[in-house]
């Protein structure tokens, strides 16, 4: 054992103990392997595939089809894209996040990691930040960017990107809701079935709840996170927004904070 070491002890305090190293490790799962490439191709296919088909393939198959992209046509295409993007990526986030905590608990790696100077908050936070960032870049930003480039190339004109940027913001909040929900469920349950099943049940429940409770509890309908899907499409095409547009933003934000707090609280009490 060398005694003339110039290595310096890592000095981190409180909840950040081990965070930098855990972030590096979690990031390497995406960027140190081909996962980023595989996921990019998958989501390009799902999110931009149909748009590409409409814009580039149909005119080749049927040259008589209307090939002009008017502003209203662009809005329709953006809407279709955002609808599909939201649908697929919501499932994508749930699937990608299902094992983030559960697998570490199940396979004993969480106990090993936590035998190092690592706070339990860092453990959860590192998963949230690194996977949230990768999901944002690959599933959201890249897809919207490719969609935008496709529209610009096809229309040969500049399309105002601000509504798309706003849509990306709302969509990201919506997906963050599911990511934090899955992380929290991962701390509560020991099987991935529950971590997938509950968010999917919630997704379906929130889509039918307005029809069932719309008259009884109108305020509940206004604050459901699922309203962010309508809001995403509305801001994406520059539609005028309803007066209650900020309600789901606030409620979803509160729920995200609640999920993170519960996840950290529950994981801090976990016994290995």
């Amino acid at each position: 054992m060398s005694s003339s070491s110039t290595l310096q002890p890592v000095v981190e305090h409180g909840w950040r103990n081990g965070l930098a190293n855990l972030l590096r490790k979690e990031n390497s799962l995406w960027w140190g392997t081909r996962k980023w490439l595989v996921q990019s191709l998958i989501w390009l296919f799902f999110s931009n595939g149909i748009l590409a088909f409409l814009l580039w393939i149909i005119p080749l198959i049927d040259p008589s089809a209307n090939n002009d992209l008017s502003a209203s046509n662009i809005h329709e295409l953006v809407k279709v894209f955002l609808q599909l993007e939201l649908f697929f990526t919501t499932f994508g986030v749930i699937v990608l996040a299902q094992g983030l905590i559960v697998n570490d608990k199940k396979f004993g790696t969480a106990a090993w990691v936590l035998s190092n100077p690592v706070s339990r908050s860092s453990f959860i936070t590192s998963k949230l930040i690194s996977h949230g960032w990768a999901i944002f870049l690959i599933l959201v930003l890249m897809q919207n960017l490719v969609m935008y480039v496709q529209l610009v190339l096809k229309s040969h004109s500049f399309y105002n990107p601000v509504p798309i940027v706003l849509a990306i913001g709302v969509m990201s909040l919506y997906l963050l809701f599911y990511l934090t929900l899955a992380l929290m469920l991962g701390t509560l349950f020991d099987s991935t079935g529950s971590v997938i099943g509950i968010p999917i049940a919630l997704l379906i429940g929130m889509s039918i709840l307005p029809q069932i409770l719309g008259n009884l509890l109108p305020w509940l309908v206004l604050i459901l996170p699922s309203r962010l899907t309508d809001l995403t499409m509305a801001v994406g095409v520059g539609q005028s927004l309803p007066s209650s547009w900020h309600y789901p933003l606030v409620s979803t934000g509160i729920l995200i904070v609640l999920f993170i707090t519960l996840a950290i609280g529950r994981f801090s009490r976990e016994e290995f």
């Binding site: 070491s5 110039t6 310096q8 103990n17 190293n21 090993w112 035998s115 100077p117």
Partner: protein
């Protein structure tokens, strides 16, 4: 024992899971720079104790210190000072041995990359995995995983190494290698380890504690434990007529009992003494001076740890220091 010399010091540390008492109040003292064997049958509470020490589980009552830090309130400081190998170690299978060592080392140190890599390489050589360093862990055998676990536990040069069954899944050669590594590390660290392999404990440990049904039933330096609880016994084998010598010996005040075993040509005695100093200086010279008597074997009776362990665990003896 001076408390400043203790690397582990618990008081009334206990754990209950519902109605099950996994660990009864435990007062454990482990001296610095020792190799401490923590023994007990399956389900005795050894792994629970380790998890409590590491902060992976919260105690029901009691507490303690490790490396001078409170195990409950300063758990992060405790974990900065230790290295831990779990009973069935699990690491990230997609990572290589080198990446895993790097991952763990970065929790403790930052600095020149070359030096970090050198530390990793030294560790790989120490545990004999340098030729497999860049293979994903998923392809490792049980023994290789165990050796990697030992490497990981010591890569930060901890003050205290906690090893839970370090040689359990190893072949005899692997076991020997692990004991060698432990012997090498004892210069730099205290080693606290759980095992079922009592022969290994006898080879390398300074002190042992025995846990049974969640209760500490013995804790003592190994040599003290091996002398047995009956008192010093000398084992003597002679050739010739030993009757006169026996009479003379029985008259001595420090001889408590002589057990005689006769064979065709030899006589074997087990002499229980009350004054070891007198026995050491007088017993052998007295026998050597006897006419017609030839001493073939002479020595202090040694117990095997297995005998002690079984008598304590099965017989309910209590040998706390």
């Amino acid at each position: 024992m001076n408390t400043s010399n203790l690397v582990i010091d618990t008081y009334g540390l206990s754990k209950k899971y519902g109605a099950i008492r996994a660990l009864k109040p435990l007062d454990l003292k482990v001296a610095r720079n020792s190799i401490f064997g923590f023994l007990g049958p399956n389900g005795a509470g050894k792994t629970t104790t380790i998890k409590l020490l590491l902060g992976l589980t919260r105690p029901t009552t009691g507490g303690g210190t490790m490396c001078g830090f409170d195990i409950v309130h300063d758990s992060l400081d405790v974990r900065r000072k230790i290295g831990y190998l779990a009973q069935n170690p699990h690491f990230y299978e997609h990572m290589t041995a080198r990446e895993t060592l790097r991952f763990r080392l970065r929790f403790f140190y930052r600095g020149p990359k070359a030096e970090i890599e050198q530390r990793i390489q030294e560790t790989l050589i120490l545990v004999g995995l340098d030729d497999k360093a860049d293979r994903p862990i998923r392809s490792f055998s049980g023994g290789e995983l165990q050796r990697l676990g030992i490497g990981l536990a010591q890569v930060n040069y901890p003050e205290l190494l906690i090893l839970d069954e370090p040689a359990a899944s190893l072949d005899p050669q692997g076991r020997r290698d692990v004991l060698e590594v432990m012997n090498r590390l004892r210069k730099h660290a205290t080693i606290f380890y759980c095992t079922h392999i009592l022969d290994d404990v006898q080879q390398v440990s300074d002190s042992v504690a025995i846990l049974n049904h969640g209760e500490l039933v013995a804790q003592a330096p190994l040599q003290e434990l091996l002398t047995g609880s009956e008192g010093p016994i000398y084992h003597i084998v002679m050739e010739g007529d030993a009757r006169a010598a026996q009479t003379r010996l029985e008259s001595l005040p420090w001889v408590a009992e002589i057990k005689v075993m006769l064979s065709e040509t030899q006589t074997a005695w087990q002499v229980l003494v009350t004054d070891e100093a007198a026995a050491k200086s007088e017993l052998l010279p007295m026998l050597v001076c006897e006419d017609h008597l030839c001493v073939l074997e002479f020595g202090r009776k040694k117990y095997e740890l297995e005998d002690i362990f079984l008598s304590i665990v099965e017989g309910g003896k209590d040998v706390k220091q």
